[in-house]
Amino acid sequence: MELVQRILQFVDQIFVNLSSWASSQLANFLPEWAVTFLMMFATVLVLVVFGLGSIIWINVFERKVIGRFQDRYGPNRFGPWGLLQCVADMIKLLTKEDITPTKADRLIYNLAAVVPIVPTFLILAVIPFGRGMVAADLSIGFLYIVAVGSLGTIGIFMASWGSRNKYSLLSGIRTVAQMISYEIPMVLSVVGVLLLVGSLSMVSIVDAQGQWRLPFIVLQPLAFVLYFTSAVAEVNRSPFDLPEGESEIVAGYHIEYSGIKFAMFLLAEYINAFSICAIATTLFLGGWRGPVLPSWAWFFLKTYSLYIVLIWLRATLPRLRVDQLMNFAWKTLVPLALANLMVTALVAKLVPQYSLIGAGAFLVMNVVIILGIALVKYPRWKRERREVVLVPRSASSQAGSS
């Protein structure tokens, strides 16, 4: 028993131990500032390589899962079970001609391909991938995520403006409107969680869920749904993929990009989608916490489960229209997030922390809000089923039924 626990702990802490071993080895012959610098550099390297590498996996994963949804195999030609498909795609994209439209604003156009990818990697820095596995435990963790995450909008807007294409322009307008609108419910819904924790640090959010002995999804189910919905919109995934809107504005902001620049946008998109799942896991699903399995395994298990939900949405739902999108953000998500925030603040003051009663109170409060909203809004949600009229032969006095 002891042995099993030791092994589990070893596996759990394998990356942390590796890093401390490396730094202690380096400390033998390097000054302290150099060790710190090298270790930071190594961490960044690991994150970037992880980010890029996970694309290969996520991409094939997504296409495989969507294939299953659509009753087909998905990629299955290159590599075992088609796992290397993404490598082939990458090679294809890298060898493609790099086109710059003659009338494009060259500086902005070329810069825009790089800008969106930077914040996506920056976000990975504050996510605790496992026990003690966080690149930078910032005390302003979530604030940092919001701040950095919204930088991606600028890149997309630069791309849409710089390409000097009308579809891109439309996409740029949509993007800015959408990103700014959905940031508000996203942040507001998380504030409830931050209230419970009393800290913005991602590590302490996970710790707080340990103290409650419950993931925050139990305490804040409404906030979770709100966060996830607005985060899906934030990363332009279906059903909020208006900026790309393949059937309307073709590909939106990256319509003019080809080759590696196009790949950069794809990369940013996939890492973003992964990040919002990772953030949701940290905030609501207890982060890396879980029995038996190593902490980082739990983290990825939860994150990928959420990612499957993203894929599921993409495979099932049609796109919203632009005015409906705005209505949804401002008339549904924002009021709900505000209601959630106010009631959370009230309940948090009234019930004892870290207790089952408290958790129950939060759950009841959520159910009350959801039911209340549903009762108020239900008549509008439930639209009567429209039927067609069937005209049988006998009833047809019309046109020449001789």
Binding site: Q70, R72, L169, S247, E248, L320, R321, L390, V391, R393
Partner: protein, 368 residues
């Protein structure tokens, strides 16, 4: 405060665009996202089908009609063959009549499946409803391949009958398929009909009032969704349609959602016709004796059928030789397309796309 200055932009949608069903161009004038004006530009697939038809002989034109509306080749052949039979006063044998009805109604189901699948694609579904529909379309295509040897260009209808009798495997497999089709339609409806987003996007978009629809000459599901119970199968029964019991499906509002619903219910009605036709299918000849050289008498004739997309008519003029003197196609998509600007004005750019999808265009037929 001075008034904000706004400017409309002109966007050229197409000819290469994922949602224009081929090479079809729209010149959109946009005020932000709102459509101010739409001008459809067609002709990119023009190959002067009618002129080539005048150089082909009568028999050669049958397979040539497959290329018009390539989603529903059997209906095209049916219309042409009936027109020529009317011109030459040929009666096709009873069994051939039934086989034709079976083929054409299967074709209607295929066409509506594709129409609904593409409509959902244009709504932004990532191909899932499309694949649901295509999977069943493929089973119908298997039946075509079994009987005609080709999936999409069957060349199965002959003047005075059909090219060959049904293979022995056809009837059991077709009966099985027809029995399974209602469950498929239910499956598709579960995915789409009650979907909140589909209803938000489709309801009250692209409304076409009945009087406008008739004035523009719209036919098919587009007209019926507007509330006009006009189905040529009922109004002017051709072939043996007067023997079958089916309902004309009529919408109430005339928006995109109604057109979708009309197509879904029409599929169910086609299943009804198929059940009756398969039940009553008689034994006997499938073609009148074929002649090497086919020369109908002089004269002109117009024959129209209710193709899946609307009224498909052939106006044929014969000068007594072995090829048509004039071979004109009244294509449903071409005429229906005229109502597009009316339906799109004032809506958002995303609605233009779904209105196009709900008209159900095939550019092979529009441009001819």
């Amino acid at each position: 405060m001075s008034e904000l200055k706004t400017e409309t932009i002109t966007v050229n949608m197409g000819p290469q665009h994922p949602s224009t069903h081929g090479v079809f161009r729209l010149i959109l004038t946009l005020d932000g996202e709102t459509v101010v004006d739409v001008e459809p530009v067609v002709g990119y697939l023009h190959r002067n089908h009618e002129k080539i038809g005048e150089y082909n002989n009568w028999i050669q034109n049958t397979p040539f009609t497959d290329r018009l509306d390539y989603i529903s080749p059997m209906s095209n052949e049916f219309a042409y063959v009936l027109a020529v039979e009317k011109l030459a006063e040929i009666e096709s044998p009873e069994r051939a009549n039934y086989i034709r009805i079976i083929m054409v109604e299967l074709n209607r189901i295929v066409n509506h499946m594709v129409a609904v699948g593409f409509l959902l694609n244009e709504l932004g579904c990532f191909f899932t409803p499309m694949f649901y529909a295509i999977r069943w379309r493929e089973l119908v295509m298997d039946l075509y391949e079994m009987t005609a040897g080709s999936r999409m260009m069957p060349n199965y209808f002959w003047i005075g009958g059909v090219a060959a009798d049904l293979p022995p495997r056809f009837l059991p497999e077709c009966k099985e398929l027809v029995a399974a089709l209602p469950s498929f339609i239910d499956e598709l409806e579960r995915l789409i009909t009650d979907s909140e987003i589909v209803q938000m996007r489709c309801k009250n978009v692209g409304i076409l009032p009945p009087d406008v629809a008739v004035a523009y000459g719209c036919t098919g599901p587009l007209l019926r969704a507007s509330g006009v119970p006009y189905d040529i199968r009922r109004a002017e029964p051709y072939s043996i349609y007067d023997r079958f019991d089916f309902d004309v499906v009529v919408g109430t509002v005339g928006d995109v959602y109604d057109r979708y619903l009309v197509r879904i219910v029409e599929m169910r009605q086609s299943v009804r016709i198929l059940e009756q036709a398969l039940r009553d299918l008689p034994e006997g000849e499938t073609a009148t004796p074929k002649k090497k050289k086919f020369t109908p008498p002089q004269g002109d004739v117009y024959h129209r059928i209710e193709a899946p997309k609307g009224e498909l008519g052939f106006y044929l003029v014969s000068d007594g030789s072995d090829h048509p003197y004039r071979y004109k196609i009244r294509a449903p998509s071409f005429v229906n397309l005229q109502s597009l600007p009316y339906m799109c004005k004032g809506h958002k750019i995303a609605d233009v796309v779904i209105v196009i999808g709900s008209i159900d265009l095939t550019m092979g037929e529009v441009d001819r």
